[in-house]
Each structure stands twice: as C-alpha cells, then as structure tokens.
C-alpha cells in the first residue's frame, strides 16, 4: 500500500477522532469535577441520537442545525439527573457512584428499547452522497467534514468555558482540590451540576453529529463509553484539551491499525495503548501529575 492509503487513513482517522474528542471532552469534564467513572456516558450519547432522530423525522431540519436543540435537551436532562440521583449520594464511595451510573445507563438503554423497539433506524440526507476530492488519491465524505468542523468549534467553546468563565474556573478548582474549593466560596453542588450537564450535552451533541453517518439502535452507546474512558485517561484525567487530542489520536491509531494490521484489532490496540500509558505515564500523555 502506498503513502496515499496511509494519508487517507490518517485523514479519516482525524474526522472520526473529532467526534470521539467531543465525547471524551464531556467525560473529562465530568470526571475531573466529580471523580465519577460515568458508565452512562455512552447512553447519553445514544439519547442524543434518538432525540435528534425524532426531531429530524418530525421537522425535516438537518441534524447539523438540530444539534443545538439536542445539546440543550441533554443539558437539562443531565442537570436533572445530577440533582435527582447524584447529589444525594455525594459523600459516598466511588463504588456506589459507579453502581449508580451503571443503573442509569441500563435504564436509559432499556427504556429506549421499549419505546422505539430494538430495530435499527437511520436517516438519509443528500449530503451523505457527496464526497470531496483532495487531489486524485484522497477523498473525504461530506458529512464527516461538516461534523469535524462543528466538533472543532464546540471543542473550542468548551475550552473557553473551562478556561475563561467563572463556572469553568470553579470547575477546575474543584478538580484540583475538592476539599479546598468550597473554602474558596465555590458552590460545589451547583458547579458539579453544570459540569455534569455540560458533559452530558457534549455526549448528546456527538450523537447528533454521528446520526447522519451511522446507525441508531438502543445499544449504540456502549462502545463509546469505553472509548471515552480511554480518551480521558490518555489525555490526563481533568484535561479537556488532553481528552480532545487523545480523541484525535485514537481515531488515527484505529485507522492505521485497520490499514496495516486488521480492523478486528483496532479496539484491542486502543486498550493496549491505554494500558501502556497507564503503566508508563499514569498522568496521561498530555496530563499533569494530579493523580
């Protein structure tokens, strides 16, 4: 295989990686501020896909515009879930919090199956058949380019939120030291609620952007939950930027593995890198020592 095949794989990897990045950034925010291994993260992405699907079939508006609505709905949903379920167990052990998110994930997945059925759904938009050529050897599929663009803008927005806004700074403070933060006058519960809501919204939006290029079924989120974990660790636990870069890296690595070794090993390679990074540099490739 020539260098163009490799280049094509890298480009496709970056396009996929952008969506991964969005999911990972959401989880990084949640993890940093709440220290929860959120097993329901993929389920929220799935909910975002279903919400977008319903809105698209009712109104015919493109998912590339609807994602804003999806994000808002998932934000509200995340906020409610936080106050109803997570806040009451605030002081408890990590175990119990993980158990809770597992339960929430199961409820979401099965509820969706009961309402929509187990069958697959997909949507069709004209953009799916459009491909851009870069030179004679490389081509990219239009919907992926659009979602890449949107994901980049949102990643930037998320970064600015975390770096520049008061809530974002408060979130970082809690991530650095959650015992000192309230002493500084930070309303931990409110910031956590917002972080959880924003993280869930990010996952939901990733789902909305994935809808035109993928399929919809109740279990679609499961594979993304694990990948999100990998990204968060690779990127350094609380680092939003780290998670985003890790998402891109993951996308590229998966594609190169597919190209040179075999698609069936891509997921295993994800985990192998994960383990390698954990054993050699536990603070993550891009992270600082805050373990």
């Amino acid at each position: 295989m020539d260098v163009y095949a490799a280049l094509q794989a890298v480009i496709n990897g970056l396009l996929t990686g952008a969506l991964y990045a969005l999911i990972g950034m959401g989880l990084a925010l949640i993890f940093g501020v709440m220290r929860i291994v959120n097993f329901a993260h993929g389920a929220f992405m799935m909910l975002g896909m279903y919400v977008t699907y319903v809105l698209f079939t009712r109104t015919g508006i493109s998912p590339y515009a609807l994602f804003i609505v999806t994000g808002t709905i998932l934000f509200a949903f995340g906020y409610v879930v936080y106050f109803a379920l997570m806040r009451p167990i605030h002081g408890q052990s990590d175990f119990m919090q993980i158990l809770l998110t597992l339960g929430v994930g199961l409820i979401c997945t099965d509820a969706v199956q009961l309402i929509f059925g187990a069958d697959y759904h997909q949507i069709n938009i004209p953009l799916q058949d459009t491909n851009f050529r870069i030179g004679p050897n490389i081509s990219v599929n239009a919907p992926w380019v659009v979602s890449f663009g949107i994901a980049c803008v949102l990643a930037l927005a998320l970064y600015l939120f975390v770096m520049r806004t008061m809530t974002g700074r408060a979130a970082r403070a809690i991530a650095q030291n959650r015992y000192a933060a309230p002493l500084m006058g930070i309303n931990v519960f409110r910031v956590q609620a917002i972080s959880f809501a924003v993280g869930s919204a990010a996952a939901g939006i990733a789902g909305a952007l994935l809808l035109p290029v993928f399929y919809l079924y109740p279990g679609v989120g499961d594979q993304f939950t694990l990948k999100a974990f990998v990204m968060v660790v690779l990127g350094g636990m609380e680092s939003i930027v780290g998670a985003a870069l890790a998402g891109l890296v993951l996308g590229v690595v998966e594609n190169l593995t597919s190209l040179y070794w075999g698609n069936e090993w891509a997921l295993a390679v994800d985990f192998a890198i994960f383990v390698l990074v954990l054993s050699l540099k536990p603070s993550g490739i891009f992270g600082r020592q805050t373990v």
Partner: protein, 404 residues
C-alpha cells in the same frame, strides 16, 4: 451477637428454598399443548428475536385456526435468552422442568443454538433449529437436534457453484465480522474456495458496528480480488457498500453469506444501502417472491401484522413450528422420544419454505438460491431452474454508476 449471623443464615436458607419452589406450573394434560421457544427478545439480537416471534405468531394462529394438534390448542412458551448462550441453556431447563414442554424450537443465533445442544441431548428433548447457520451446531452428532435452514458450508458451496458457472476469475477476498456468524461463514468459504481451486487473496475480519471501514476496504483494494465474499449484518452491510463506493473498490463480483446482504431493507434507501446495494449477490434461503406454495400468503400475513416485509428469519421460525406440529401429529403423541422419531422420518414436500426432510445428521438439505439486487429488488439468478432473470456481470465500476 450470637443471634445475628444465625439470623442471616436462616434468612438465606429460607430464601433458597422458597424462591425456586415458587414459579412455574407443570404441563397439565388439559386443553393445551405447550411448545417451548427459546429466542433473543432482548439484547443485541433482539430485532431478530422479534422477527422470530412474528413468524411463530403467524404460524400459531394458522395452526390453531385449523384445529390445533391432537385436538388441543397449541400454546407457545417463550424464553428470552437475552442474546446470551448461558441464558439459553437455562431456558432449556426451565421450559422442560417447569413448563413440561415436549419439544423446543430455537435459538436465534448460532452460538446460543450450539450452547443448548448438550442440554437438550441430556434431557432427551427434540430441538428444531430455525436459523443457526454455523457448521458446528451439528458437530456433536446428537440424535435430538434438527436444523431447518441451510448452513454456512451450503452457502459457500452454492456461491462457488454460481461463480464457476459464470466462469468468474478465481481470486477472492473474504470480509467478515469477528463474531460467530462471520467467523463460521468465513471459515466455511475459505475451506471450500481453496478446495475448488480459488485463490483466497485476502481475509479480513472486522469489529462489527464500527462507523468507518474505509481503511479495511483500502487493504482489500490493494490485493485486487475479482470477488469479495461478505459475512455481515445489515448495519455493516450498508456501511460497507457505501464506503466501498467512497474507496472506489471495484471487484467483478460482490457476493455474500446472506443475512445483512439479504435483509428485506438492504436495497431500500430508508433503512439500507439504497443504490449502493445494486448488483450485489447474496445467498438466500427464502424470499417473499419464492415459488413455494404459501410464500406469498406468509408475506401478506407478515405485512399485515407488522407493516414491513419479512426476511427469511421469520419464515424459518414459521417453518420450524409447522414442522414441529407436523411431527407431533404424525407421532400422535406428546412424548419427546416419539416426536423425535417422527421428526427423523418426516417428509413435508410442500411448505412455504420448500420441502422439509432431515438427513441422518439432522440437516434439512434446503436449497440455497443466489439472488442479485437489480433495480432495488432481489431477483433469483441461480440455479437456472429457479432463476427469474439472468445475472448482471461484471459489476459496473462506481464511477460509471455515479454518473446516473
């Protein structure tokens, strides 16, 4: 202090006795004949389990309307194996021990079906398999199991016969999902192709339900095969064909082991690959347009029940129940051993699924057809005596199609 652990243990023991003791009632020699069904109503195969259930329901209604069997109404007792093999085995035990069924139909997937073979053998209960295609489901040689559908070796053989009849160039790439379905079909085709003098230039396994297969398709393209043989479910079949167009992969023949490539929705825009499905070949166990008596009526009944057209899984479930009741009727007994003997000897020349008769391994030598998607419809193109039309070969390259 002394009391507490004793208290707990007592609680535990009570629990262990009462809980399994409750639930379930034995088969009463009354007005109903119960038949057990194991299928995947939840879990990853839920959509197919539902197809099974629809097929069973249509058969059940027809049979009961015609008077049931042995003067009794038939009642189906379902057990959901949650798409997990260990649950399927639990289902066998529950259906036989608690519900007293004399025969079981199922499961859906090959691994679940293979998993329950030792259990039904040990309990001496006949099993009729509607959809499991992996070759290993019959490997134990158990005298209690019977398979209605054709298996993966039959798929490979039919496809190779077709390719030889077309004088196709003998280089093939196999692309399959790394699950039971994919691996068993890839294995069957690999062996059969080599034995038939074909050169298997590439064998690619993939992780199912991935959004992006372009790198994999790039690899296949580099080997330049004349034929590609897919073993995929619908989701991936559509993604693969769409991305094959984007990768500009142009073999002369796109062939497949059915399932995704034979799904009713596959050629549709809404739920499948739409125009990207055109010209693909697939093995087929059954189509709504099949020439067997009752096929069209089943299609109509299914459409009336669900609003969609059936894939062959539903028909296989229907045929399984039909066969089971025919055997019970022939044995004129609800004893498992008698039913098993009746199944061994059964000969149903005209069912909507074609003729049904089991060989000494329990396999029904069901005819495998080759279909091609032409103008958005499945058309049987091989063998010649069943063909509706001539196949279109070689497959036109993607650029010429895009010009449309």
């Amino acid at each position: 202090m002394v009391k507490r652990p004793a208290f707990y243990l007592a609680l535990l023991l009570c629990g262990m006795f009462t809980v399994p003791a409750c639930a379930g009632s034995r088969q009463d020699a009354g007005e109903v004949l119960r038949i057990g069904v194991i299928t995947s109503l939840t879990g990853s195969a839920a959509a197919f389990g539902q197809a099974h259930k629809n097929g069973y329901t249509i058969a059940l209604d027809e049979l009961n309307a015609a008077g049931g069997v042995m003067g009794k109404k038939i009642d189906l007792v379902y057990y959901d194996d949650q798409s997990r093999p260990d649950q399927a085995v639990q289902g066998v035990n529950k259906l036989v021990d608690q519900d007293g069924v004399p025969i079981i139909l199922g499961a859906y997937s090959s691994e679940n079906t293979r998993a329950i073979v030792p259990a039904v053998t040990q309990k001496s209960i006949p099993l009729v398999m509607p959809t499991a295609t992996a070759d290993n489901v019959l490997e134990t040689g158990s005298p209690w199991v019977f398979r209605i559908c054709a298996g993966s070796s039959a798929y490979a053989a039919a496809t190779l016969d077709f390719l030889k009849a077309m004088d196709a160039p003998k280089s093939m790439a196999i692309v399959y999902e790394n699950t039971n379905f994919g691996q068993s079909n890839a294995d069957a085709m690999d062996k059969a192709a080599r034995a038939a003098g074909f050169d298997v230039v590439d064998s690619e396994a993939y992780q199912a339900s991935s959004p992006d297969y372009k790198a994999l398709l790039q690899r296949v393209k580099a080997r330049n095969p004349a034929i590609i043989y897919f073993a995929s479910y619908l989701l991936d079949a559509s993604t693969l064909m769409r991305q094959a167009s984007q990768t500009n992969l142009n073999p002369q023949y796109y062939t497949s082991a059915g399932t995704g490539f034979a799904a009713a929705e596959f050629p549709t825009r809404d739920k499948g690959a739409g125009p990207y499905a055109e010209y693909t070949f697939s093995v087929s166990q059954w189509l709504p347009t099949a020439r067997w008596k009752g096929s069209k009526e089943f299609d109509d009944a299914f459409f009336k029940l669900t609003g969609t057209h059936p894939a062959y899984h539903a028909m296989q479930a229907y045929a399984a129940l039909l066969t089971a009741t025919a055997a019970i009727r022939q044995a004129n007994s609800a004893e498992p051993a008698a039913i098993r003997d009746a199944l061994k000897a059964i000969n149903l020349p005209e069912t909507p699924f074609g003729p049904i008769k089991f060989d000494e391994h329990g396999q029904n030598p069901h005819q495998v057809l080759i279909t091609q998607v032409l103008e958005g419809q499945y058309k049987v193109v091989y063998p010649p005596e069943a063909a509706e039309t001539k196949p279109v070969v070689p497959t036109p390259p993607w650029d010429t199609r895009r010009a449309k």
